[in-house]
Symmetry: C2
Subunit: 117 residues, 2 copies
Amino acid sequence: MKTLTIQENIFKALSDKGRLRVVKMLQKKPLCVCEITEILKLATSTVSNHLSILCDAGLVIGEKDGKWMNYRINTEPKNNLISSALLYLQFILEDDETITNDRRIISSVDRNVLCCK
Amino acid sequence: MKTLTIQENIFKALSDKGRLRVVKMLQKKPLCVCEITEILKLATSTVSNHLSILCDAGLVIGEKDGKWMNYRINTEPKNNLISSALLYLQFILEDDETITNDRRIISSVDRNVLCCK
DNA sequence: TTTTCATTTCGATTTTTAACGAAATATAAT
DNA sequence: ATTATATTTCGTTAAAAATCGAAATGAAAA
């Protein structure tokens, strides 16, 4: 059976506060796991899992970029349910305190400094 | 603190398959708890809880109607995030098997027959 | 006013989801 | 080749959500 899968996945993917923050960050620029980890203050494995959920929902795309994985908003969604959801996500939460703060941080950090320990 | 509340509630509210089905049913006509219970095949208390979550999210309105509570889609949302979410919900899942079947049932049942035991 | 009945609230249980650290993987740098 | 490091996978634990039945509520019907 298993109907409703696509939409269910989209809403489920967005029902987590952290994942919503990730989407709103990626709207500004692609990010790697360690950058997102630094901002969300979660374990790397947790962030990686969140990203795979967003990818499964079709909202986000992950691409290898040298040492890193670059995650970005899916710009060519197969499904118009996904593209309309992404459109909706573009204009919500723009003035939210957490979102604007997250974006301020990502615009000022250097991946090479942030990720190397 | 507690930012992201409104949107979080909307997505959380829609992240449950049963609640999504309720919204899609209410798009066709207002329904009482026992009608929805009959279709979702869940306990009355569970359905009542789902409805309160949808109401809290601002997607649905509950109104006393004689013996019953009528639940309907919120037609005058205060928030444009809610109204745009409701707009989005109008055109998704229209050809989904579960949704069309739910709607077929609600259009053919009589509340007075269905609810009196 | 007593009964009936639709709905809600409550308490408990089960299921699902989030989170973590450790280990595995894979790739770039040395 | 070996080391370093970014990410993923795995196993476990903790937190949140869904579900139920029973009891409470409240309004309509008798």
